[in-house]
């Protein structure tokens, strides 16, 4: 097991380097010249050139990349082109907000998703099952910006029980987390259901019944533990979707998180900021994937044997 974790850790190194590479070069392809942007409208050619020199934008791309790479490994993500503040400082302010939002939405994904999946699986093709699955289908197909606005309209504007936007109290978390977690919950619900139905058909469930085990114990003790194995993978994948989702949801609910920072920076052509933001987001994703892999392995010891 330890060996497995070490091996997986080593595997993440090339992934991280690859990420920096892709992030760096994609930003080069984005139209718009940061030097022009920084110099402001109607600046002279000389000024722009001077800024270029100062930022090192005139050097060959590969040199710029390696320069960037080494400073990143030193913890230096550069300074914002907009306000000359270190990028890392800004990220460290924004990241906890996004992590908090992600945490609550993944919680919703897991709890809501699995509960719905189990309810469906206990009596397949019943009214309950059909209702849950239709709701889940809606959850997958509704775009989150629309869903977010609808939630906002009902709970904040009409009922006025939850705040419209911002990020101050725990109440502020509910709507954005729900918006962000709903799609994932729907996918997890469907996955849990099909995985449960698969498990319920297994011979060992019949053995448990033949032993006289209560039906509820069969579901939770004998069924769920086995059914969870594929669900863990799906939950892990949801983290990836989550990162994209935060960008949208933070914009809708005016939350100053990492996602919103990246969007704003793109608009400003604030290159170092975007690079830093995307890089940190990718690192989080890599780490989460690692954790999911280890968990999966822990839950399913049998794969070690094969």
């Amino acid at each position: 097991m330890l060996m497995f974790i070490v091996r997986r850790l080593l595997q993440t190194i090339p992934v991280i380097i690859g990420v920096t590479f892709v992030v760096f070069f994609i930003m080069q392809l984005v139209p718009g010249d940061p030097a022009v942007l920084l110099a402001g409208e109607g600046a002279s050619k000389e000024t722009i050139e001077a800024i270029r020199d100062q930022l090192g934008l005139n050097r060959p791309l590969l040199v710029q990349y390696f320069d960037y790479l080494t400073s990143v490994f030193r913890g230096d993500f550069g300074v914002s082109l907009k306000n000359s503040q270190p990028v890392l400082d800004e990220i460290l302010v924004r990241l906890p907000i996004t992590v908090e939002l992600s945490f609550f939405s993944i919680l919703i994904t897991i709890v809501l998703g699995m509960a719905a999946g189990i309810i469906s699986a206990i009596k397949p093709y019943s009214l309950k099952d059909t209702t849950v699955m239709i709701v889940a289908l809606l959850g997958i197909s509704l775009p989150s910006f629309w869903f977010g606005l609808m939630l906002m309209y009902f709970f904040s504007v009409k009922l006025q029980i939850l705040p419209v936007a911002g990020w101050d109290s725990i109440l502020h978390v509910i709507l954005p987390a729900l918006t962000l977690g709903a799609g994932g919950a729907a996918i997890v619900a469907r996955m849990t259901r099909s995985s449960m139905l698969e498990v319920i058909r297994q011979d060992y469930i019949r053995t448990a019944r033949a032993k006289g085990v209560r039906e509820s114990v069969i579901i939770y003790k004998h069924g769920l533990r086995n059914a969870l194995i594929p669900v863990i993978t799906v939950v892990g994948l949801q983290f990836g979707a989550l990162l994209g989702g935060t960008v949208l949801v933070e914009s809708i609910f005016a939350i100053n998180g990492l996602g919103r920072m990246i969007v704003d920076s793109i608009r400003m052509r604030d290159l170092p900021m975007v690079q830093g933001g995307v890089l940190v987001a990718s690192l989080v994703f890599v780490v989460v994937n690692l954790i999911v892999d280890v968990l999966y392995r822990f839950f399913n010891k049998r794969i070690e044997l094969n």
Binding site: M1, M3, F4, E304
Partner: protein, 330 residues
């Protein structure tokens, strides 16, 4: 059976080894291998049926697959009509596959569910190019006749047939390319007894009709007794005994063979036999026991068995056995 001397050797297996690497979790531990087949020898004579019996993990199916190079063997030589087929390149091997056919246990898994019987047979003939295109249709009807299926079967799909009929399709496909040797890997194990009897009769009939040689791999000793001329018993990747059927069933010389024979439940309640019940499980083929591989379960084990590996030696005419004390069981 005639003496071995006046028969042609069709297939000769020498020093055949099949090791499969096992994944280890540590980078520092030495790589482990499943020693599925470990240095075995045997000859297969033209027109005979040689059976390989043994329990799961003994290497009987691996042997069959290694001969056909379905899994590339680790080491050894397999001579077919004088040439070592393990040395052939892909093209030469493909040509030879027409001579060497195989029938598997689960005919459903080995027949393409989206092909009709006609397509299945056609494909087999086309790959080996044994029959001219214009004559293939006639040939197909002929093949169906041999295996006892009606001509209408041609346009149907495998799922429309029962297990026994599917096995007949598998046999027809093997026959389509005029093979010399057919390896039957647990070919009747999945069938009910009454159907099994039909398929066994069919195999025997076809063998006579076309002069086929069978390598019959099975765990069922009653079936083996019925169909074989000679029988080879394997245990943990080694040949423990090989003899003419009658000798093997009447005077088994290896303690494992004796235990195996006495373990078979016999459908005759009047018959009270002395049963040898072996203790424990078959050891893992990853780290097989030293000395004689059977010593951990053998009721007659001595110190010598734990350290010294017995050679496969000829104790009677055509009766080879690998036990230090085989003479005592005569």
């Amino acid at each position: 059976m005639q003496g071995a001397a006046d028969k042609n050797v069709l297939l000769e297996v020498e020093h055949l080894k099949q090791y499969f690497p096992v994944k280890t979790d540590s980078l520092f531990k030495p790589k482990a291998y499943v020693q599925a087949v470990d240095d075995i020898f045997f000859k297969l004579y033209e027109g005979e049926t040689l059976s390989i019996v043994g329990e799961s993990g003994c290497g009987k199916s691996t042997t069959g697959r290694a001969i056909l190079r379905l899994d590339e063997p680790t080491a050894g030589r397999v001579y077919y009509s004088g040439t070592n087929i393990l040395g052939l390149n892909k093209k030469e091997m493909r040509k030879l596959r027409g001579d060497l056919q195989v029938i598997f246990q689960d005919p459903f898994a080995s027949l393409n569910p989206r092909q009709t019987v006609k397509q299945i047979l056609n494909e087999a003939m086309a790959i080996q190019d044994v029959v001219e295109k214009s004559k293939r249709m006639d040939r197909m009807f002929e093949l169906l006749g041999y295996v006892g299926l009606p001509p209408e079967a041609l346009d149907r799909y495998p799922h429309e047939f029962s297990g026994g009929q599917r096995q007949r399709i598998g046999i027809a496909r093997a026959l389509a390319v005029n093979p010399k040797l057919i390896i039957c890997d647990e070919a009747v194990s999945a069938l009910d007894v009454s159907v099994q009897a039909q398929v066994l009769n069919l195999l025997k009939k076809l063998q006579k009709q076309f002069g086929l040689t069978f390598l019959f791999i099975s765990h069922d000793l009653s079936v083996v007794r019925h169909i074989s001329d000679r029988v080879m018993v394997m245990y943990l990747g080694k040949v423990v005994e090989i003899a003419d059927k009658k000798d093997l069933f009447d005077t088994p010389l290896h303690p494992y063979t004796r235990a195996l024979l006495s373990s078979i439940p016999v459908p005759n309640p009047e018959l009270k036999r002395e049963r040898i019940i072996l203790k424990g499980d078959v050891p893992s083929p990853i780290n097989p026991p030293n000395g004689c591989r059977f010593h951990t379960r053998c009721p007659f084990v001595t110190e010598k068995c734990k350290t010294e590996e017995p050679a496969l030696r000829e104790l009677d005419t055509n009766h080879m056995v690998s036990c230090h004390y085989a003479e005592n069981f005569k």
